[in-house]
Symmetry: D2
Subunit: 90 residues, 4 copies
């Protein structure tokens, strides 16, 4: 079973948290809240998105690379994750 299915509930909880944070940010902008608070809210969303990314990358590398018996499939699945990892390491 793929990690995104096994961990579906936990991952969905993370996504819904991000949705809640984005809705709160939307309200801050509508209410013309002080921009220091807006900056903090965007930083909080960024932290939540990074946390979600770590969880999915770790699951992907563990399930689709470490636990994959076929070396050729391991390489293909590594390439999928490497594209995202490299975007962070720029």
């Amino acid at each position: 079973m793929a990690h995104t299915i096994r961990d579906k509930a936990k991952l969905l909880a993370r996504v819904r948290r991000i949705q809640g944070q984005a809705t709160a940010l939307e309200k801050q902008l509508c209410d013309e809240t002080d921009c220091g608070a807006v900056l903090q809210q965007i930083a909080a969303i960024r932290g939540a998105v990074n946390g979600l990314m770590v969880a999915v990358i770790e699951g992907h590398l563990t399930d689709h690379v470490v636990k994959e018996a076929d070396p050729a499939q391991r390489q293909q699945d590594l390439d999928v994750a490497l594209g995202v990892i490299k975007s962070y390491l720029k």
Copy 2:
């Protein structure tokens, strides 16, 4: 007028784009979509959040530091942005 008020429509459009991306990600997880696509979607949200952060930081530094006549207020407003900038530079 503060930049988050002057640029309210543009900033809200960015936030609503992020909300749409998060809803699409939620559907991917519910539909048990391939995790390569999930990784790409999270990376897209990350890019949109970073773009929003750049817009607000630039607006903050321009309106509340460059255009601020009082040096003491400039320092206070710089400190607000520095906290967020440092979190990126770790």
Copy 3:
């Protein structure tokens, strides 16, 4: 006096630390050290470079933007730092 002159000794100490770390990394590669240690050493250099960047950006924004009396010069000096900040926020 510009911050890079006022803080010259502290900044040079940071640069020399990075030079020492790079020399240690060079030796690790020459000695064919375990690549886990090599990864850690590169991460240490990255941390030191980021720390140096924070120190110089903070000094630049404080001295050349907050303490600058002329608004037009403040904008020019902000633009110098924004280019670097944006490269981190991608």
Copy 4:
């Protein structure tokens, strides 16, 4: 043969480039060069360090995870890289 040995010459060339950039930065600070140029030089070093990190992480994940026959060893070697990847995804 481990990737850091196979790719020793290429990796050492990257390290020596970083050493050259750090020496140039040292001279900029000693010569009290304009801090805009100093910021650019630090950004260049950061880019070179990130490029070196990508090369070593990719080599590590390919040689020690994808090409490793033993699943338990694959997991250990993944954990080494995950520690560094997570530091970037904070």
